[in-house]
Amino acid sequence: MSIGATHIDHIVISSNDSAATAELFATNLGIEIKRTMSRPGTRAHLEFAKLQEVVLEFAGPGEVQPYDEVKARLSGFVLAVPDIDAAVAELRSRGVDVGEPHAAVQPGAKLAGIRSGTNGVPLALIQYGALPLPAGEGA
């Protein structure tokens, strides 16, 4: 059996200044930052670029603290699945520790973190179109 993962949906690059890291990657790699997000309450500033089917997510604090240098690291990735509830049930049946699916920052998407069975890789599942879109956020 398979959880039906179709592709790597996004790779998370964490940084103490996500805007600076996103700008560096955009400039050096010739990629475009498609979306930025600093939602009140999340205490995070996110920037997103897309390389074909994979999103690069640059994640950092909402309020950048003074620093000597920008420090970034690869902090994990997310697999796209067509049915997150079925995928989570499948993983749990194999003894994998998976969090309960919840609304992701991506509109209409549900996300579930995987806490074991990944060889040390912070990994999560995402399903798009799993929730109604918030008013005013059409596809």
Binding site: S2, I8, G30, Q52, V96, G117, N119, G120
Partner: protein
Amino acid sequence: MKAKKIDHVGIVVKDLEAAIATYQSNFGFEADRSRGGAVPAMGIRNAFIPVGESDLELFESTASEGPVAKFAQERGEGVFMISIEVDDVAAAVEHLRGLGARVGDPSPAGVAFVSMKSTHGVNLHLVQRTPAEPGG
């Protein structure tokens, strides 16, 4: 320079065969046995697991020195690097050097390593999978 896609995500593991079995058992992923194996020059064994248009590359260190061995000693297992496919790796290296980045010369296999000092600490590789187009 134009980045084309994420070619692969590199993951350092302690035991390659056990990790392949874990990813197969838990996620249903199958390793592509036509690729990978021992790479003595890099002190690793590796395996590729296709996921969509990209691969997961699992690394096991077989040496006491080198980047993979260092990562394994300091952090154990985890996400090690990302590799981005470009149309023309030589042109990409030239472009990045023009921006002040430190980048190694491309290998005969079309791979270039970008210094982590030029990526805010992210381990980033560039790879060219097809011959560059004339004039491109």
